[in-house]
Every structure is written in structure tokens, then in C-alpha cells.
Symmetry: C2
Subunit: 349 residues, 2 copies
Amino acid sequence: MSRSRKDWPRPLDFRDGRVDMTHGSGGRAMAQLIEELFLEAFDNQYLRSLNDQACLAVPPGRLAMATDAHVVSPLFFPGGDIGSLSVHGTINDVAMAGARPLYLSAAFVLEEGFPLADLRRIVQSMALAARQARVPIVTGDTKVVESGKGDGVFITTTGIGVIPEGVEISGDRARPGDRILVSGTLGKHGVAVMACREGLEFASHIRSDTAALHGLVAAMIDVAPGIHVLRDPTRGGLATTLNEIARASGVGMMIEEVRLPVSGEVAAACEFLGLDPLYVANEGKLACICAPRDAERVLAAMRAHSLGAKAALIGEVTEDPNCFVQMKTTLGGRRMVDWLSGEQLPRIC
Amino acid sequence: MSRSRKDWPRPLDFRDGRVDMTHGSGGRAMAQLIEELFLEAFDNQYLRSLNDQACLAVPPGRLAMATDAHVVSPLFFPGGDIGSLSVHGTINDVAMAGARPLYLSAAFVLEEGFPLADLRRIVQSMALAARQARVPIVTGDTKVVESGKGDGVFITTTGIGVIPEGVEISGDRARPGDRILVSGTLGKHGVAVMACREGLEFASHIRSDTAALHGLVAAMIDVAPGIHVLRDPTRGGLATTLNEIARASGVGMMIEEVRLPVSGEVAAACEFLGLDPLYVANEGKLACICAPRDAERVLAAMRAHSLGAKAALIGEVTEDPNCFVQMKTTLGGRRMVDWLSGEQLPRIC
């Protein structure tokens, strides 16, 4: 690329500048934004070619492909921001097929007037998350909408990854008798965002668990390539995820409240906010369903990984034509863990 | 999948219903929207698995990956809508690497209150475009933002495709002496959208050229696998595309105004709107740069294809350290075809 400097009379003003409509119109201003912000932060050979697509080497095998639109509000929250979230979220969706994530794309819808300083902070956070995960952002797009027609920034990321030979992980593979594991304490992401949104002082130290889980998944598959189901319980929390799996597999589930890992501070914040941690979003946790013979090995592998230190076996899959997810409560009773009908936490991711 | 009907007490109301926040919150309403709208329209084995990612068979070889956020306004315009556009746009970006597009993902950001009837019309239009192109939409995501924080619907699509052995197409491969071809008349998409937006009666019969170009590209590569550059001149039009290529390749270009294919009605509408067709977006056209020995063959292949009937050779690549794109005018003079500094057509795609 031999773009000459004279094209940009002044560098972008990342202190006081704001996004304007020209940044999305395909002309000089957009080229400058791409060069001085995105190329600078995401720097890699694919983006540097400045083509409208990336040309990628991919090892032979089946691919997993996942996409996520991120509209979290607020854009910055304790433990993360929309940038890191948009990298972790899609890496995790790819990893939940047992795949090794290879490449990400990123598409931005910016609102006119959004501060360039905030945009740079978000993009740098994405770049850091992608570097730490070793999954490059290889292609992208930027659009701008008029003030009042967006909300700062929305980021859609798409990821592809390669699925190791012999791995067959899918939501319809849970079987009666299978064990249900989770990789750590529940509800941190949702509570962190809600506490931030509501200005709750007492919960302001709760940080989102946003993290890329592909390393944890690789460690689990290493010891048990026959894992049946993996899923990250984001929107709708663990309750929704288990219901989705139960429905897809045509099975029931019985979990035990006493085994659910929930930190005291999240439990307290949930109590205050009127939330049930079972329904609150996580962004750095996974649920795993595997054959009984694999359960101990998988649990040990999870606990040996920094992102699975508090992993727990929480229940098992049952035979149930109604596909009910039920819970043995701490008081010794049973209750249904149903789908939520309505809204719990809007714009949580 | 054994989802039981009782989960949805009533089917979605596609006549009078509207998007509400529950459709994005991961609960029952979102599952119903996915099942009754997206699964129904995009119907394929990948989506039916209801996993958070698609598991895909991919032939060996290099992959092309492209992503595009679509924010076009209005959502419906003569000749297309945001749905068909979002399929064509990304297929074309993949195809411009010479790749055969294989799979698409789609992520929706919906505004609370958006009519479900309009959403269904858009989704059905996407489904039709994807079926006609034989590129399935294999995975997706849906988010909802509050009324006033979005603008009806934004759609980000991402595509992957496989690049045939021996094909090396990139914006930095233009060489002095190469020929510059375009596949048809310029400016139709941009003029159709602008005329619709401005309520111009006299131009209301001009239809967007939105189309998937991978078939045309395959026909061109068949006769000339050594094509140097392909690019679809969308935002910023042909002028911007040629400037991008000139800069990336470190060359100049000389095109001839008299050879530019522009229909009389688009020229008239541009005159009225104060637009230059060279800078107006196309969504079903491509620019091709190839060695002189390939030019006639490629041009013949383009003209033999329904989407390239009006293809033309419009100029050639020159040696120019300044990377200027210039044009011989119909009057016999020369003028610079520079980047636009500012905004021409906001939210055109």
C-alpha cells in the first residue's frame, strides 16, 4: 500500500473529534478513519491489503461459523466494554462447537456525533482482546447513521474456526444420564452491566466475567473429545440455555440449587435488583453436557484452567417427554426452571 | 428438534404486531421469532440445529471472508430492499476475490416498534435472494434496541467462499498497461435510492441494480483465471473504487468519459440531483482490471452473461507515482477523478 500522506491534511482528532456522516460514505474521510484507527489497532496482513474481503488460509476440516450483533448499554462497564465483549462473544460461539477459532470480522454501525476518543478506546479494547485470544480481525465494515438513529456504536462480529476431527458437539446431543457441568460462578456479566446502568454503588465492584473460552474448551476436548453439548449461557442465563438444550435434545434436566456456583455478592445484587442469577447473562462461562464416564475428567480439566477454577457438576439429564428443566431447591423441594416469557435484561450484550 | 407447540400460545401477529424488547432478550419471545420467522424463511439444515453456530463442510483451499453492515434508508426502494441488498452486497464482496461464495451469516439490530409485517417482508426478500444465489444463510443473531435508538432494522451479513486454485485477485495487482473494464451502466442503485428518498416522480422508474455477481465472476475467471483486480463500486461509486485500487497498486489510471456506460435516465436524474454518476453507488456492477491479452476474452465473457450485457472497456492503467485517476472528457480535455472529501450519499447501502 502506497497511500501518500498528503491525502489526509490533518490526522484525525482523537481528543475532541466526533464521528460525522462522511466517515461512512466511502470517500476520503472513511479511508482515513480506516487507516488511522482500524488498521492501526488491528494491524495484520489481511487488513493491510485493504480489499473488501480477506483471503485466508484455513486448515482442512469442518468449519464453525457464528455471528453476534452487540448493542450492550452502557458501552463501558466494569470488567469490559462493547469492544472486548464483541470479540469474546463471537469467539465463544465458535468455540462452543468445539472449534478452534481462526478469524474474526467486525462491522460497525456508528452514530453521528459519537466521540472519536470513545471509538478509539473501544477499538483498542477489541484489538487487545483479539491479540490475547490470538484470533485476528481480518476484515470489516463501517457505516454511519444520523444522530438519533443509532446509539453510539453497534458492533457485529463474525467468527470462523476449525472443528477437530471426531468432535461432534451440538445442542441436540444431550442424553438421559448425561452430567451437566458449568465452568464457574453465574450472573457476573448481567449484574455488572445492570449495576452500572442503575448506578448501584454497593455493587460497583462486581466485574463482568467477559472472557474468551476457546482455551478452556480445548483443554476439555483434550481429555474428552466425546463431549455432547457445549453452550455459553449469555442472554437469558443458564436457565434459558438449559431449556434450549432440553428442547433440542428431547430430554429433561434436574439440577441442584445447592451445587450452583453463585458468589455472595452477585446473589446479594440479584436480590436487590429482583433478578434470579439463573436467568442473568454470563460472558465468560460455559455449560457442558457429557457422558457420565467423562464427567470427572472434564471437571478436573476445567478446574485446572484459570477460567474454570470454580467449575461444578450441577445436575443431570433426565428422560422427560415434556423437556422440563427442574431444580431441587436448597429447602428440599423441586421447582420448574422455565423459559422466561418476557423481558429480563434488555441490551445486556 | 422437538419444540412443542404449547410454548407459543399464539402465533406471531405478522399483520399488526410490532417488535418489542422481549424479541431480543433470549427468552420465549425470541425463540418464537426465530422459529416462526427466520427458520421458516431461511429454512436449511444448519439453522435447524438451533445451535449458536453453524457447522459447515468447506472444500479445501483458501477462503475469502467479507462482512457488510447495511443501514440503507429507506428500507424499501425500487428494485430491492435492505434484505436483498444485504445478501447481494456480501456475496459480491466475497466474489470480488474470485471466490465461490458458500455460506452467509446474518445479524439483525431491530428497533422496538418496528412492524413485524415489514420485518417479514425483508426476511423473505433475503431468503429469496439467498436461494436464487444458492448461498444459504446458516447462522444468525437478533438484537432489539429501544425506540429511538435504532432505525427500523440494520442487517450485518458475513460471507465465506472458496478461492479457486491459481486465482490471485487483489486491489494491489493493477499494473501499467492493464485494461479497465466495467460490467454495465453506472449509478442505478444510488439514483434509485435517492430518487425514492427525495420523492422524485420523474425518476421513480429507475430501479436499483442490486444483484449477486458471483455467477458473472465465475464466467470471467473461466476464460481468464489471471484477472488482476475485481471490485464492486458501491459507496463512493466507480471513482472511489478506481482511486482505492490506484493507491493500493501504486499506479495511475486514465479512463475515457465517452466509454463510460451511463443510461440517459440516470444521467438526467444525476443532473437534477447534482450528482456525478462516477461517484454514485452501484450494487450489481463490478470493475475488472486485467492484462491487455485477457481484456477481449473477459469482455466477451461479461457480455455473454445477463449481468454484464452492457460491459465496456473504459480505460487503462498508467504509470504514475502520484496515483492519479484521470479522465479524457468527451470534449477532448482531461480532468482529475479525485476522491470525494465529504459526504455524497449517506446511508446508500
